[in-house]
């Protein structure tokens, strides 16, 4: 169990770093921002899920991930607009955005998936 989480940490960290470097290379910044929504955590987690728990488990996870991606889009639009209007400090704006992500993701989950079958 501990070994799996250590592996998860290394693969997730590496994938996030690779996509971050790709984002750093690109201009304009809005193009670099596309890589901020890269499937880095998803690729690491799903690869391990396929190996250890099978395709059915990965399918159930990705059904919820669709809702998480909608919340991520809302996060990008909200934080991007606030920062373009000069809202500061950036750390506070991104933290408020995370609260919005939780609100949208959990709200959609409650509305659409709460009570659905789990594996």
């Amino acid at each position: 169990m501990l070994g799996e989480f250590a592996l998860r940490f290394v693969i997730g960290g590496l994938l996030v770093s690779v996509f971050a470097v790709l984002g750093d290379l690109l201009r304009p910044k809005s193009l670099a921002g596309v890589f901020g929504a890269a499937p880095s955590v998803a690729l690491a987690s799903l690869a391990l899920a396929f190996i250890t728990k099978g395709g059915d488990y990965a399918s159930v996870e990705t059904r919820s991930m669709v809702l998480g991606a909608v919340a991520l889009g809302c996060y990008g639009l909200l934080v991007g607009r606030l920062l373009l209007r000069g809202a500061r400090p950036t750390l506070l704006v991104t933290s408020v955005g995370l609260v919005a992500w939780f609100g949208v993701a959990l709200g959609l989950w409650r509305l659409l998936l709460d009570g659905s079958a789990t594996l």
Binding site: E4, F5, R8, F9, V10, G12, G13, V16, S17, A20, V21, G23, D24, L25, L26, R27, P28, K29, S30, G33, V34, G36, A37, A38, P39, S40, V41, A42, S45, L46, F50, G55, D56, A58, S59, V60, T62, R63, S64, M65, V66, L67, G68, A69, L72, Y75, G76, L77, G80, L83, L84, R85, L91, S95, G97, W101, A105, W109, L113, T118
Partner: protein, 154 residues
């Protein structure tokens, strides 16, 4: 391409990022991946799946961009770029959801990643094109319905 549609990739830009900042992203990315796994272990894959689209890299990236440029405009543009990326991410998830049980993992994940790249970058380009057309189509004079500005001479 000209104007806002012009994009570029330069290796020199990597030197703007300090080694400490790469380490922060690695640790943050690793922790979010472990966190997503812990949530799935505790509350099951339905709740855990939400966290596969958690903004893992954006908060750290936007804060670093803002610190580098000393202006929040660059960070704002970076944040807005995540919206087309998240559309690609939703389709990535949709593809794995539909075919994850029936096809080999490597094939499903590779195709889903390809879909993310095409949809994310394609939507970004379409948004830029629309934005450019909207701005170039606007007449140089005052917008209809706007109050004309009076010029007073001394």
């Amino acid at each position: 391409m000209n104007g806002p549609l012009r994009s570029s990739a330069k290796r020199e830009r990597l030197r703007q990022t300090k080694p400490r900042e790469y380490l922060i992203r690695f640790v943050f990315g690793g922790l979010v991946t472990v966190g997503a796994g812990l949530v799935a272990t505790r509350w099951g894959p339905v709740v855990g799946g939400l966290f596969l689209a958690f903004p893992s890299i954006l908060p750290a990236s936007l804060t670093l961009v803002s610190a580098h440029s000393r202006l929040t405009g660059s960070a704002g543009a970076d944040g807005l770029g995540a919206a087309p990326g998240s559309l690609g991410l939703a389709l990535f998830a949709l593809l794995v959801w539909q075919f994850g049980s029936h096809a080999p993992a490597w094939l499903v994940l590779s195709l889903a990643a390809l879909v993310w790249v095409v949809v994310g970058l394609g939507t970004w380009a379409a948004c830029q094109h629309w934005h450019l057309r909207r701005h170039t189509a606007q007449p140089a004079g005052p917008a209809p319905g706007s109050t004309p500005v009076a010029h007073h001479s001394a």
